[in-house]
Structure formats: structure tokens, C-alpha cells
Point group: C2
Amino acid sequence: MKFLWTLSTVLLIVAPSILASNNGNNRLDMAAQRRAANIHRMDTIILLTYMSVMVVIVVTAWAFKHYRFRFIHESGVTLFYGLLIGFVIRYFGLGLMQSQTFDVETKNKSMVNEPPDYLMLEVKPEGGSRVSFHYELIEGFFADKRKKIEQQIEQKSVFSPEVFFNMLIPPIIFNAGYSLKKRHFFRNIGSILAIVFIGTTISCFGTGCLMFVFTSIFRMGYTFKELLFFGALISATDPVTIISVFNDMNVEADLFALIFGESALNDAVAIVLSEVIENFSTSSEAITLQDFGSAIAGFGGVFFGSLMLGFTIGCMNAFLTKMTLIAEHPLLESSLFVLISYISFLVAEVCGLTGIVSVLFCGIAQAHYTYNNLSDESQGNTKHFFHMVSFIMESFIFCYIGVSVFVTNNQRWSFSFLFFSLISITASRALFVYPLSWLLNVRRRPKIPMRYQHMILFAGLRGAMAFALAGRNTSTENRQTIFATTTAVVIVTVLVNGGLTSWMIDYLQIKHGKDAIEEGQRLENSMSCSTSQGEHNSEMDESIPVTMAPGLNPWDKAFLPRKWYHFDASFMKPLLTHATPSLEQTLPPICLPLTSLLTSSRQRAYINAEPFDTIVQHFTN
Amino acid sequence: MKFLWTLSTVLLIVAPSILASNNGNNRLDMAAQRRAANIHRMDTIILLTYMSVMVVIVVTAWAFKHYRFRFIHESGVTLFYGLLIGFVIRYFGLGLMQSQTFDVETKNKSMVNEPPDYLMLEVKPEGGSRVSFHYELIEGFFADKRKKIEQQIEQKSVFSPEVFFNMLIPPIIFNAGYSLKKRHFFRNIGSILAIVFIGTTISCFGTGCLMFVFTSIFRMGYTFKELLFFGALISATDPVTIISVFNDMNVEADLFALIFGESALNDAVAIVLSEVIENFSTSSEAITLQDFGSAIAGFGGVFFGSLMLGFTIGCMNAFLTKMTLIAEHPLLESSLFVLISYISFLVAEVCGLTGIVSVLFCGIAQAHYTYNNLSDESQGNTKHFFHMVSFIMESFIFCYIGVSVFVTNNQRWSFSFLFFSLISITASRALFVYPLSWLLNVRRRPKIPMRYQHMILFAGLRGAMAFALAGRNTSTENRQTIFATTTAVVIVTVLVNGGLTSWMIDYLQIKHGKDAIEEGQRLENSMSCSTSQGEHNSEMDESIPVTMAPGLNPWDKAFLPRKWYHFDASFMKPLLTHATPSLEQTLPPICLPLTSLLTSSRQRAYINAEPFDTIVQHFTN
């Protein structure tokens, strides 16, 4: 393969004559100064625009809540505002730009009296169409060539769109895990995992095949690989969107667990699938059984690896907060909590695992263990902090998606492609929801009723994750169409499905609001004797582990969960929190040297005080 | 479940035949994909490194507090960790880089089988040295040239180092305003403004002139303009550093007000000065008196413009929270509070004012008015949120400054320049501290004692703002030296002056810790009969405005402050908060239609309830 590089040799000859004056460097200097000022101004204007929109969004959200207006959902409104702002920036915001683009090929020498802000490099591969790369000026210029590698490192230390998503999505998912109704989530874990692993795979290949059929019929020129890639990234429903649409509804807890559980965990599958599909082309050979085996191993490895990593990091933080006296300084304690939670995301991403799954389970572990060790102040702080941050980030993401439709130009719109996509993703979602539910219902108690199945189909909302995955590589026109279509699917599902969710819930006669809470509590009480009264209000209050009464709750019949409950109560909680019984009591006496080391003074005080407390309680009763 | 997997196997085997088409675009596509993955990985690793260091920093900070270790200050330790990490990245982190640089001039076409990540454009002005511009590949490539302008807009929508500072510094300054001990700040406002306006200007020109003398003697080749610019950016002491060093010390409140007030407000002067100096070169003529006059007007305009803007935005938020029922939804209320506070920074920057001054006074207004309208939950939330965020941001900034020494390569080290700089800035700081204090002491009561003056000289800590200003333009070698020197001055002042502050405070026999608080309260009580008992713990509790007793406090003697107090109690507070007396009571009856509109139901209820409350109080006493 040869490239025909049309290089800027001309410019190299031209430039000196332009800069001929003695104060050539001075003019460059001035230009750089102006450029820095312009960039600063531009950045600030765009940030200000976003922030102002968000103020409007918050006020709108308040008005919606206050006047109980339910037809359009907040996320939908946010998206809509984003679209509006994007439109304004696109058609009225061009005057703001003061930078200059220099096209290497046009050779318009007379215009060059400043270092151009952009260079365009045109390449014509043999047998391919002409492509052009855009280059942006990096701050500063150096006479020394040795510094090039260092320059690259510096560039990586600053923000990029990737980091943008690294910073916005994690707090939302963490908050979901941190405030999760654990009981319902884990009771349905089997069904959730089946939907996540089998369902997402079916949906991916179903979408890919259907789209291949459609695009082949209409000769739209997509390879099967591209469509499979599209299938992979569009198959994952989005936790951010699901949370924002369903959180206020208070639907029946099992249904929410299924829908939210799927959305939170299927990102892992979608990411692995898309990577496997990408790798097809490296060999370009027939796919062997080995590839297939490694794909399955990949699924499992990535998923459970991420899960364990997040959980372990959460536990480490619990251990740290238990064994040190950092609770004396709530500010440091809360900061540590926030930082370590974020690290669980980053470590997973660095290890090639999925940060989303990791940070979700880190959140669960933090709520289950660390929360109980925190000072009262930090308990409130961390809860409110993540609540507020995730709300702001969420609004920002929806707003950003809306803006991107008009502002970015790596989106290429194809309405036929979009139309076929919507058909394909709905069909392939139906293709797994109903058969899989039927299969699961063979053994599952309580069964997944038909109205849940309809709702799961309907709740296939796509969001930030699909948007981020599709936007990561938009190098070819087909990929730009895929990106645009993904954005459109996100907007359609959020506006239409999200907007109609409350209507659909009523139509399917699914309990929600106070009804669902009462129903849930009634069921709880009838099924289990554990203290679940206040659970719906705050799951976090389970600070003192009661020995579980296994066998009464249908979920407890399963072997593994029962084992886990026992292990949790007799080892994990005593090890990681100040809860009693302590390890000294639950482990055999032979471990005493170790267990006494791991028992906190608060635990010991609590054990010693217990009889006295009981007496007091006796008297006051 | 197995049959489902077989289905996908068949599909997988079919796939490659379709994927077989291999062309040039496909390889470019792959390269872009790999590049995206690399960037993501690199970004994540760097973020993870920062976060891990911050965990270590938090744990160290806790250990320092716990074991009462005071010799090295936390900021110093953070800087030190940053330096360490920068060193590791510089000398051991090169292997992480997988991107490729393509040098335009070498024309090594044979090596190009992927789009190069970077282009270097070499330019050699006549009579100047060879300069080279680095260009980074922008995501995506387009056949369509029309899209270039849109591409630029998109580029501006994402993060840059500028935005980095837009996001990190504002919360710290806002938090400073939000938790400011207002009484002491405003009591010293005259002296603070004198130091800010006259002192910073003297320091700027003093440093510039001294440096010009030094560099001329040793023929280092700097223009006077460059050195004046250096003087301007290095003259501003840094609020972030001052806060982090002095906050835990609890030094005498007047001294802290002087030092902190100077650092918070002199950024405006430094920014205006540096802009004025930049503009000198456009004409390259002698500086006329007109230039000088417009500079003074610039000072005043920028400073008071920013002040008024921030204050107004704060008041608007107070009005919004008063007149709506948003307090019913604390999450939305807190989010609105955070967003509007941030907007005060952005609007100022967009208008060409200084965001730092704006956000500081917005914080003061928010604490003075809005805070009283917030729900109890939001009061706690916002306080803790800003406290935590500013702590984290602060640690991050110091860490980043440390890292930058080794990682960035737009810093050119010159130890002789650094040595002369340290002499110049100390000398020119002394040049204004002592004469100005002497002048101020002519009328000021209480006078600024000599030990305060020594301390103000010693507390000339530079920090993030100087670093950001110097890093904004590093286009010439001289500017790179200035950036490196600024970084070094930051490090030296933070490590040496910051580290020795507690020793210096003892040496100068300045009261600190509990002594200062007791002393302050004793003075308060002897001088004023207003209720200042709990003030040192939380200034924010002044929720019900008591009518001031003017004349007893020395500060109240001044005409303007007295007028302001009166205006605040009889108009601003009734207008913007739920405090009584309401506007209906303080304004003449002729305004009744308007005032009744602006009186909240809570105010009215409070007024009606007041007699009853008084009775109750009477009985309980």
C-alpha cells in the first residue's frame, strides 16, 4: 500500500519570507498570545453556555416536580435543551471563532502570517478514496527535536474527550451502586446475569444480521463486521438513562432490579463483544473455535474480574477506615472515600476490565461495609455528594448528547439506516426477552410475568455508554453514520420510550409510587422475618448485621447465596466493619492472635457493653 | 441455553468471508481504532496515577494531623509527591507511549503506513532561530473541506489545559468566600485594597526593573517587556496556597484577613497588569501618559466590575431561592447553588473581567444571603460539598504543579534567572510592605504592628494562579524560562516559606491556635456589644440580622461601611432572605404594592409570630 502524501514542503519554503522581518519571532509570539486568549475565551463561553443551560434544566426539573407534570421526562427535556443549544451554536455561533485554518494543499501563501491553527494533510491510498487528516497546533514550539517524545507525554497529561467520559459516567454508576436496593438486586441476580450474557449476545448478533439483510437489500455498502460492531454497541441498555427515567417512578422492586441490573452489567458484555468483533479483522482469516472459546473466556474474565476488583477495592477502603482513626477528620475521610471509589473505576480500565462493572460493585461494597465505619458527618456527606454530583453529571451528559447532534461533524446522517436500526434493535430485543423469560420461568419463583416482559422490552433505553463507544472511532464515513445513528437512537429511546414510560407502566398495570412500596413491604413481611421495615427508605441503615433466617426468603433457598450470607455475617462484616459479633467470636480460638489484631476497640467496647445495653433496653421497655 | 450459543457460532464462522475485503481504508480504520484505544489507556493510566497519589496525600495529611507533625506543611508534601511522580513518569514512563511522530521535513515516506499522530512544521525566520510547530491529529478525517469550520467548533467544545484551570481554581476561591470571616475581612478592606492596588503595582515594576538590571549585567537577552510581564504574574500571591498554609493555623484574624485578602484580590491586578504590558508591544512605541491612564482605569474597571458581577449573581441566586419553593427539593436546590456559583466565575471570564474576584464575592454574597434561604439539608450539603471539593482540587493542583516540573517540556530551566528572581521578588515585596504599612498606620486603628509586616513579607507564597498565567503562553525560549522559573518560585515559596510559617509565627510571637481565638473574642467583646460569640466557629449563623450598634466598633466609624450596614439590614437582607424586618416594615408605605410582592410568606409568618415568640422567651427566661 502506498500513500501519496501531499506535504507542506511549499510552506517550509514560504514561511521564512513571510516571517522575514527582524521581529519575526515577536509576531509569532504575539500570535500565540492571541491564540491562547482566544482559546480561553472560547472554552469559557462554551462552558458558560453549558452551565447556563444546566441552571435552566434544574429550574425546569423543579417546575416539573412542583407541578407534577409527568408526560415528558426530565432527561428528555435535558436532551431537548441540548439540541436547542447545539442548533444555536451551529447556526449562530460561527462568529465566535477567531482561529484560522491553514490548508496545506491549497498553498495560499499570502494568507500565512501566523502559525496556522490547523494543518490538513491529504492522503490518497491506492484503490481508496481521498482522505484528509486534520492537525491542531499544540501549545508551544521547540527548536529541539529530542523533546518530541516528552511533548507527547505532556499532551497525554491533559484532558481529552475520552477523559471527559472517564469523569462523567463513573460517579453516576457509583451512586447507583451506593444507593442500590441490594436485596432485590441480588435476589434476581440469576435472571439478570442470564439477560446480560445471553440476551445481550443475541441482541448484538440479531441486530447485526438484520441490519446486514436490510443494508444488503438496499445496497448501502456496509461490511458485516461494521454492522456487528454497531450491534454490539447498541445492544447495551444504559444505566444512566434507566436510573434517570425509573428512579422517581418507584416501580415494583423486582422489575426495577431486572431492568437496572441488565443496564448496569451489560456494558461489560457490549465492550467485550465490540472488542472481539474488532479483532476479527486483524487476522482476516476464518474464525476458529479457539477465537470463539477465547471470546467466552473473555466475557467471563472481564465481567467477574471487574466485579471482584471493584468489590475488593471497596473492601480495602472499609478495612482502611476501620483500622485507622481517620473518622476523626471527616473531611479527609470523605475525600478518601471519593478518591478510592474513583480508583476502582480507573484500575479496571487500566487492566482492560470494564470500569462500569467495577465501580458499581465498589459502590455496593462501600454501602455494605465502609458506610458503617464512617463518621456521622461523612455518612451524610458522601451520600449527598454522590447524589448531587451524579445528578449534575447526568444532566450534563444528556445536554452534551443533544448539543453533539449539531456541533460535532463526525456524525453522518442516514435516515434509512436509522429507520432500519430502530426496527432491528426492537426486533432483536424481543428475540431474547420473551424466549429467555420463558426459559427462566421454568425454574424461577416468583416467575417473570408477561407485563414485566413487555416492560423490559419497552425499557430498552440507550444512552451515554453507546454514545461514548460509537464516538470513540469515527474515522470512516460508515462509522460516522453509525455514530450519528447511535446518537439518534439514544435521543429517540430517551424521548419516546422514556417519555411514555409512565404511561406504559399504567397501561401494563405495574404498581408504582407508594403502591409499589407498600406492596413490597407486605411481601417482605410475609416472606421473611428479617427486619426489612425501613429498607425502602434507606438500605444503608443495616448497620448491625442480624443473623439471617435462611429458608424463609425464596432467594435464600439457593446454595451459593446462603453460603455467601453466612460468610458475610461471620467473616466479612466482622473483619471490615465495627459490627458485632467480632472475628474473635466467629472464628475458632486458634486464630486468636490474628483476630484480636483485627478487632477494633469499638467492636470490643460494643461487645463488653452489650449486656448493659440489654439491661437498659429491658428497663426502658 | 446451549442451542443459543451454537446459533452464534454459525454466525461467527460465516462472518469472515464477508469481512475479507481488504483495502487501504480498512488499515487506516484499524490504525485509528488502535490510536483511540491507546489514548484511552494512556489517559486512564495518568488519571489513575494522580488519584493514587491523592489517596497517599490524604492518608499522609491524616497522619500529619493525627501525630501533630507540623514542620513540613501538607501542601509542601503534596508538591513533593507531585515532583516524585513527575520524576517517575519522566524517566520510567516513556515505555507507555505507543504513538508515533511524523516529522514533515524528513520526508521519510516509506515509514508512513498509518496516519502519523503528530506533524511537525519547521519554520526559520530570517534573523531568528529555527522554530517548529507541533500539530496533533484530530479525531476523524473528512473528504469534505466545508466541514473545517465546524471541526473547529467541535474542538473547542472539549477540554483543554485552559479549561483544566477553569475547573480547578474556582471551587477553592468560592469556598474561601463562602467560609470567610466577613467581619475581619471588611474591617481591613481599606488596607487590603491599598496593598492590592499600590503594593502589587510596586512589586510588579520593582521585580521587572531589578530583573532587567540583573539580566542586563549578565547579558541574558531578555527584553524589558518580558521581564515586566514576569513581574506582573509573579507579583500576585496565591489564595489557594495561602488558604492551605494558614487555614489550620488560626492566626490572629486581622493578620489573616490582610494576608488572605491580598492574595484573593491581587489576581485581578496581576491579570490587568500583564494584559497592559502585553499591549505595550502592539505599538512598540514609548509608553504615553494615556496608556498609563487607561491602565489605571483598567484596574478599577476590572476589579470593581468583577466584584459587582459576582455579588450580583450571588444576590440573584438568593432572590431565586427566596421567591421559589425550590427548597422543597434539596437536591435541586444544592445543584442550583453550585451551578450559579460557578456561573459567576464564567460570566466574569467571558466579559474580560477576573473570575477569581467575581467568584470570591459571589461566595461572600451566597454566605450572607442565600445561605439563610436554603433548606437545612442544603445548608449542610453546600458547605460540605465545597469544603471537600476545594480540598481535593487543592491537593490536585499542588500535585499537578509538582508533576509538571518533570513532565512538561515547555519549561526551560535557568538557575541564574531563578536565583535573581528570588532576590528580586523578595526585595520588591519588601519595597511595598514596609512603606505602605507606615503610610496606612498614619490613620489606621489598630495599627499594623511590625510583626504583622514581617509576616506579610514572609507570606508571599505564589501558587496556582502564577503557574497558570505563565503556562498560558510558552511560545519563545524566554517565556519557557519564565514558566520554569515561576514553577520553581511556587515550589520554593510553598516548601520553604510554607514549611517555615509555623516556626515564623512562633518567632514573631503572633498568636495562633486557641490563643488567637480567645484573644479575638476578648477583643470583640470589649469593643462591640453585637453578638459575636460564636462567630469564629461559624460565621454563617448570622441568620437573623440584628440592627447594628454603630460607633462601638472602630471599623464602624467609617462613613461608607456604616451606610452599607444600614442599607444591608434595611433593604438587602429583607429583599433577599426570609429575615425580618421585612421590606414592608423597612420601606415607606408608598412602596407597599411592590414590597408585599417581595415579602415571602415565611417572613410574614415570622412577623406575625414574633410577639408570641417574645412572650415565650419571656416565660422561659
